[in-house]
Amino acid sequence: MTRPNHGDRLPLTDRERTGLNTALLDRRAFLKRLGGGIAVACLATGRHRSAFGQAMDHERRPFAGDKEPEAISAWLHVDGQGRVTVYTGKVELGQNVRTSLGQVVAEELRVPFDSVDLIMGDTAQVPFDNGTFASQTTPIMGLQLRKAAAAAREELEATAAERWQVTPDEVAARDGKVVRQRDGTALTYGELAAGQEFVGVVDDAIELTRTETWVVAGTSVPKRNARDIVTGRHRFASDWKRPGMWHGKVLRPPAYGAKLASVDLSAARGMPNVVAVHDDQFVGVAAPDEATAARALAAIQATWDPPAATCNDRNLHAYLVDNARPSGSDPSRIQQGSIEEGKRASSQTVEASYTAAFIAHAPLEPRGAVAEWAGDNLTIWTGTQRPFGALMELMRVFELPRERIRVLVPDTGSGYGGKHSAELEVETARLARAAGRPVRVGWTREEEFAWGYFRPAGVVETAAGLDSQGRLAFWSFENINSGTAGLDTPYRVPHRAVEFRPSRPPMRQGAYRALASTLNHFARESLMDELARAAHQDPLSFRLAHLDDERLIATLQAAVAKFGWRDWTRQEGRGIGLACGAEKGSCVAACVEIALDGPGGSLRVTRVVQAFQPGSIVNPDQMASQVEGAVAMGIGGALFESMRFEDGVLRNGQFSRYRMPRPRDVPSIEVVLLNRPELLPTGGGEIPIVAIAPALANAIHDATGQRLRSLPLAPAGRL
C-alpha cells in the first residue's frame, strides 16, 4: 500500500504562497477552513499544467534553478461526519460530469454516491483549471480524482489499522467504513477523519479499482440535481439576483471590426437613475431595470468607422482560399512517401473540394452574469466554460491580484465550446463598478449570435488516387481556415500529405464541439465514398479493406450490424449512408437512412444508428445522452445551419432566421455503446458529432446520385 506523502513534500513557490494553493501548505489553516479531516490533492502533470500556472511562475519566480513547480489540479476532503467534498475547476454545462465525477470518487472511496458533494468552478475554493472543454474532464480530471479518492481510502484504512494495531491488509474499506476483517469491527469514515489534520498529495502510481468490479461507476446514476431543474428551482447564471441589483447593457458596433469614432452620452446621462460609461471602445449603461437600461442605450449617439470590406457568406470560401497561407509551410503538415509517386501509381484520381459554413453554438441560455464589488473585491456569477479564464482576464483589466476576484459558475445552460471567452464578465464588472452596485448583464439572443464567436468556416481541398487494384495509392488533404482536429486519415495509404493552412477569417471564430473535425471528417468520409464508387466497391467493403485499427473496425461493424446495412432493400426516394472516424481515444460510426418526398421535396432523416466506443464507460445512460445530443446538434450543422453575413454584418442572428434541429427533424437515434472495460474512460462530449454529416451526404448521394460537398447540405430542409 502506498501512503500519500505528507505536506513536507509540497514545493513552496511564491505563487503558492499568495495563491489559493497556500492553504494546502499551511495545513492548519487549510483544514481549519474545511473543519479538520483528511484532504488529498492531485497534481497537474506535464502538458496538463496550466498556462496560468506557467504565467504566474514567470511573474513570481520560483526558487532559482529548481525544477518546475508543481500545480495542484484538484482535491478532495473527508470530514468528521464522513461527508466527502470534491473541489474541481471543471464546471457543469449539461454534460453531467457533476454526476459522473461524483461516481468515480464514490467508487474509489467506497461510499454511497449521495455522500459525495462537488464544489465546481468556484475560483475561491478550487484549484486552477484551464477550462471545461476538449473532452478532457472524464479522462483527465476523472482519473486524477480517482487517484485522490483511492489515496484517501488508503489513508483511512491506514488510520484504522493504526488504531487497531493491525497491519493494513487486515482491514478493508466499504460503505463509508473501514472494517477489521477478522471480526467485523468497524469505524466510520467520520470517526476516522474527525480530529485529524492530514493533508496529502496523491502518488501518481497509486493502484485503482478495476473497472470489472465497479458498483457505482459504470452504472446509470440519474443526473444529480435534475429535480431542481424540472421544478424550476435551479438558478442558472441568468437567474442570479443580488440585493439592489441594476441591469446593464452594452453598445454594440454595427459590424464585426467596426471601430467607435465618436460617442455622445449626454442624453443617456441626462436620464434619471442611469449610469453611462465610455472607455476607449467600451460603451455601456446601467439602470435599475432592463427597460430603462434599454432606453438609455437607445439614447446614445455614436458613429462608427466601418471595417474593411471582406466578403459575404456566398463568396466566403473563395475568400478563405485566396487568403490562405501557401501549402507546405505549416507545422501541422504530415507527409509520408511521395504524392508524385502516388500519382504515378494511380489509374484513377478523384479531386474534390469540401466546404463548411460559419455556424453558431446557439446555447439555449445566452450569456449572462452578475458582478458585485465590495471595495476592491469583485465577485461574479457567470455561465462560462473557463472560470479561471475569466479570472485572469478580470485580473488583467482591473489590475487586481487573484485574491480580490471570485468567479462562480452556477450549473449552466450549455456551452458546446462557445463560452470560453470573458468579454461578458469584463463588461459586467465594468458596469457594476461604475454603478456602485451589483449589475446584471444578460446578452440578448442577437448579441449571443453576433458577439460571441463562430465555429470556423473552412475549405478542404483533396486529391486521392486508386491503383489498378482499387486500393488507395495517394491521399492529399488540406484544410483551409478551420483547423487540424481530425486532419489525418485512419485509412492505409502508401503516400499521403495532410496539412492545415491558416487563412484570414472575416468573422470572429473559435472553439466548437469537436473543433475542425466536423469539416475534416465530413471531407474524408465523403471522399472515401467517392473513391469507393470510382473503384466500383461498396462504401463498407472499401473502408474495411483500408483499416487496421481494430477498435474502429469493431465500431463500424457494430453500427452496420445494428442498422441492418447489408440487408437494406432499396425503396423509391430513400437512401442510406455511413461514415466513421476515430479521435481523442474514442471511435464513432454512423449509418443513416433518409427519405426525399419527391423531386425538390423535403428531406427527412428517417433513421440514425450510431455506434460509439469511448473506453470504459462511467455512466452508460449519460454517455448515450451525449451521443444522441451530439447527433441532434450535428444534424443542424450537416443540413441547415449557416451564418449569413456581409462585410462583418450578421444577417441571421435570431432563432427565427437560423434554422436549428427541432423535434420533427431528429429521429430517435439508436445508440450502440461499446464498452471497453480494460481501457481508461475517455470523454464523449465531442467525437459523437463527427460522423452524422458525412453519413447524410453519402445517403443523399445514394438516394439521388447527387454528390453534395458543402455544409449545410439542405438549408431549407430540401435539396
Binding site: 454545462l93 449539461g94 454534460q95 453531467n96 446509470s220 440519474p222 443526473k223 435534475a226 429535480r227 431543474i229 424540472v230 421544478t231 424550476g232 428551482r233 435551479h234 438558478r235 442558472f236 441568468s238 437567474d239 439576483k241 431595470d289 432592463e290 427597460a291 446557439a362 446555447p363 439555449l364 441560455e365 445566452p366 450549473d411 449552466t412 445552460g413 450549455s414 458546446y416 444578460g442 440578448t444 439572443r445 445512460d621 449519460q622 445522452s625 444522441e628 445530443g629 451530439a630 447527433v631 441532434a632 446538434m633 435570431q654 432563432f655 427565427s656 436549428m660 434541429p661 427541432r662 423535434p663 420533427r664 431528429v666 429521429p667 430517435s668 437515434i669
Partner: protein
Amino acid sequence: MPLVQLELEVNGTRQQLRVDPERTLLSVLREELDLTGAKYGCGEGSCGACTVLIDGQTHHACKSTIAEAAGKSITTIEGLERDGALHPVQQAFLDHNALQCGYCTPGMILGAVALLQARPHPTEDEIRDGLNGHLCRCGAYQRIVAAVQTAAGRASS
C-alpha cells in the same frame, strides 16, 4: 409608460401588481415575482423556453404583455408541483433523464402538459409536432418524447 394596477392569478395565488402594462409577462414573472423558471431564450417566441400556461393554453411569456395577462390565471413551472408531489410530466422527465443542461426543460414540460390536456394519448408524431415550437439544443428530443408517452400512459392507468 405610466404604471397601472393589475391583478392576475399566478400558480393559484392572486397577485396585485403596479407595473408598466407594456412590460412582457416574462419580465414581470422573473423580476417582480421571482419566478425564474420561465426563461429568456430568444425574445421572439421561437424557442419555447419562456412558455407558460394562461388559462391552460401555452403562451410565449416573452411576447405577451402583462396587460394581456391581467385577470387571467397563469401557471408557471413552479406551479406544477402539488404538496411536494411532482406532476406526472415532471416525474416522467426525471425517469427518462429527459434533459441535459435543463434550460429548455421548464418550457418543454409546460408544453407537454398542455399537449396532453388537449390530446391525452398522442402518437409519437403528434408529440413531435406538438412540441416542435420548442428548441432543445442539447438534443434530448427522443427522451422528451418518451417521457411524454410515459406520462400519457400513467395518466390513463
